[in-house]
């Protein structure tokens, strides 16, 4: 009876010490995080309500004017439509291709190591390099790989195709190059996922007569569900982040036909429209937040499950 309060004090003391220890370990990263992430986030929110042009002097507060303009202006509309196209393509094409490759390479295939590396290699390449290779080497109308190949069937007319210069083609060409890069990434994620699929369960299913498509459809794919969620969310976030491919290959042109939000934001910064660019950043942030929420929830659920 007498000892109880002492123990409580001890416990409190210990809890406090523990807190102190944790805090002192966290202090440095927290400080860095505050300076480099939290402060800039709020600063951007604030700037999005101004018409600041990057020069010293008083900053004009304009309320929601930037956002009103965003909605009415064509470059923003085109950018957001292109971002949506990008998302739709990204959660379907590289995802299924990557899954297909993973399924094939997970079985006993000759040269599977080489093939895995080969498919993954584009991702190792810096995006800027990949973008330049596609813009200069593949899509270039006069000497690009694609038109030279098409010329075998179409003759000289092929050299007239402007993969990046035609406003109707540009965004598809850029997304095409981005898909090429993404497939290997998705493949690796699924390959890792397939390693966790319980072989005994599959064995049992085979005993019950499931094979081929049925085995995949009703056994493997459902068991890959957590991976699929992550792949889809990553694809969406990558689509929203898409910037370097667009900036290098087309700069969003011709006349914004291949622009995306991140690149439009960057070009606005270049025009010294800091406030306006900040408002694009806020929109992008808001959209990303929704998907990041799903992603984190899925990751946390998996970690708790283990």
């Amino acid at each position: 009876m007498v000892q109880t309060p002492i123990r409580t004090v001890n416990r409190q003391q210990r809890a406090f010490n523990q807190f102190l220890a944790i805090f002192s370990f966290l202090a440095v990263p927290l400080l860095l995080y505050t300076v480099w992430v939290i402060y800039p986030t709020f600063r951007t929110l604030y700037l999005s309500l101004t018409d600041w042009d990057g020069l010293p002097g008083p900053i004009n507060f304009v309320g929601l004017e930037n956002f009103q303009r965003l909605i009415t202006e064509e470059p923003f509309q085109k950018s957001i439509v292109n971002n949506i196209l990008w998302i739709i393509v990204f959660i379907t094409v590289p995802t299924s291709l990557g899954l297909g490759l993973a399924m094939v390479l997970n079985t006993e295939v000759k040269f599977d190591r080489f093939l895995k590396v080969a498919y993954y290699l584009p991702l190792v390449l810096a995006t800027v390099v990949a973008a330049l290779v596609w813009a200069r080497g593949v899509y270039s109308p006069r000497e690009g790989l694609l038109n030279s190949f098409l010329a075998l069937f179409m003759g000289d007319a092929a050299y007239k195709i402007q993969w990046l210069g035609d406003p109707n083609l540009a965004i598809w060409s850029v997304i095409g190059a981005a898909v090429w890069r993404q497939v290997g990434y998705v493949m690796i994620l699924y390959l890792a996922g397939l390693k966790t699929v319980d072989a005994e369960v599959l064995e049992a299913a085979k005993m019950d007569g499931a094979e081929g498509w049925t085995l995949f459809r009703y056994m493997v794919f459902p068991m890959l569900a957590p991976v699929t969620t992550i792949v889809v969310v990553i694809s969406v976030i990558d689509s929203l982040r898409s910037f370097d491919m667009v900036n290098i290959m087309t700069r969003g042109g011709p006349f914004d036909s291949s622009n995306v939000l991140a690149n439009y934001m960057y070009l606005s910064f270049e025009d010294y429209r800091m406030g306006y660019a900040a408002s694009i950043a806020v929109v992008l942030f808001a959209i990303s937040l929704v998907f990041i929420f799903f992603y984190l929830r899925e990751v946390m659920r998996q970690e708790e499950g283990q």
Binding site: L55, P56, R142, Q162, P167, G253, P254, Y272, R273
Partner: protein, 418 residues
């Protein structure tokens, strides 16, 4: 006696030496430059080295920043409490954007001390002032013209065009010979600014053009619309390469060096695209053809130079640096090494004679000009320039969209210049 004299003499010499060091400045100097192109960079380093030799007391830090990146970075420099002491920059609207906010130091004393008011022509002096004060000093400029393959022209018996009709004729002849008449690369938009500037100045005169770039005239004005009818004639005759939007300006120049294109509206820096001295036998230029002979003639001659941030920590050293950079000797070195036009009128004329293109440009373009423009993206607001040039690019793809395009440009103008 002798010893005493020696000591006295020594003291005098030492004193004079000390005084000289004082006059030549001491301490630090930070110079940020946008001269990132190889040739320019080499010259830039040389001029800093020469300055350093003349002023050994000053410790110069020279930073070279990529030309495009510099345009954004400069705002960060100016926002800082400790900016670089000397910055490269562009005359015109781009300079006014800073000077009107009091971000550029008054360098009237540098102009006076170095006698520049006598050495620079009036036009250049006006270009260097803001609200009557000197804030800028020009160090070089170049001209824009229609560049052409003179070997191809000679083979086809073609002549430089003086008038619009002759120009259209060149277009037909080259097309008939299977050569793309006019090249341009609009991936980075700005080459189209040159087309708009020249057409507008030729059709409506330079005064109208400056009013437009100053935001005083709506883009929906019938006179602006008329400019595009001339542009349209070139499109209808298929004068331009049809892959312009896929190419940057150098890609398009490569088509010309390969002998597949005839003409290119460009600044004189196009010369650097020719290697091994081939430009001597292949490259020549003529003044943009006259459309309305009643209009005064405006030309494009973008001017580059220097200014000092108002908060420059080593202002006195910076002024010494400017005095050297824009001095006669250094500018003559620039003419010799870079083939630049020097804005000073007292530059040794024999140097120009050694570069035939400079003589030709002076005689046929600059001396005949009634007005000089800086270029679309330097004369107007940067955002307006970008929206405008995007509009020009769209016009070249879809000329039928002209009305919608002009309406959009007008909406932007009304907002930006409110």
């Amino acid at each position: 006696m002798k010893k005493w004299l020696l000591v006295a003499l020594g003291a005098v010499v030492a004193g004079a030496g000390a005084a000289a060091v004082m006059a030549q400045g001491s301490g630090k100097l930070v110079y940020n430059s946008n001269g990132s192109d190889p040739a320019v960079r080499k010259f830039d380093e040389e001029q800093v080295a020469r300055f350093q030799k003349a002023y050994p007391g000053i410790n110069v830090t020279h930073n070279t920043v990529d030309h495009e990146g510099f345009k954004t970075a400069i705002r960060t420099y100016l926002a800082s409490d400790n900016p670089p002491d000397v910055l490269t920059w562009f005359a015109g609207n781009r300079m006014r954007a800073f000077s009107e906010r009091g971000l550029a130091a008054d360098i009237g004393d540098v102009w006076q001390k170095n006698g520049w008011t006598k050495a620079f022509p009036k036009g250049m002096q006006e270009l260097s002032k803001s609200n009557g004060k000197f804030v800028f000093v020009p160090t070089n400029y170049y001209w824009w013209a229609v560049y052409y393959r003179k070997d191809i022209f000679a083979k086809l018996g073609l002549k430089e065009a003086q008038t619009w009709t002759q120009f259209l004729g060149l277009c037909d002849s080259l097309n008939k010979a299977g050569i793309t008449p006019i090249l341009t690369g609009s991936k980075f938009l700005w080459p189209l600014g040159g087309w708009f500037d020249f057409l507008n100045m030729r059709v409506n005169g330079p005064k109208f053009h400056f009013d437009l770039t100053d935001g005083k005239i709506p883009y929906t004005d019938a006179r602006v619309r008329r400019v595009f009818t001339y542009w349209r004639q070139l499109l209808d005759k298929k004068c331009f390469n049809d892959d312009a939007a896929s190419l940057d300006w150098q890609d398009a120049a490569a088509v010309m060096t390969a002998g597949k294109g005839g003409m290119y509206l460009m600044g004189d820096f196009i010369r650097d695209q020719w290697k091994d001295g081939l430009e001597k036998s292949q490259l020549d230029f003529f003044r943009f053809p006259i459309i309305d002979s009643k209009q005064p003639v405006g030309e494009e001659a973008p001017t580059d130079g220097y200014f000092l941030p108002a908060k420059a920590p080593n202002l006195e050293n910076a002024k010494l640096f400017l005095g050297y950079i824009a001095g006669k000797e250094n500018m003559e070195a620039g003419v010799k090494e870079l083939g630049r036009l020097a804005p000073r009128s007292d530059v040794d004329a024999s140097l120009y004679a050694a570069k035939p293109q400079i003589g030709k440009a002076q005689k046929t373009i600059i001396d005949r000009a009634d007005a000089i423009a800086q270029f679309y993206d330097r004369d107007t607001d940067p955002e307006m320039a970008n929206i405008g040039m995007k509009g020009f690019q769209e016009f070249m793809s879809n000329p039928s969209q002209l009305d919608a395009i002009l309406k959009r440009l007008e909406a932007a103008r009304a907002r930006i210049f409110r």
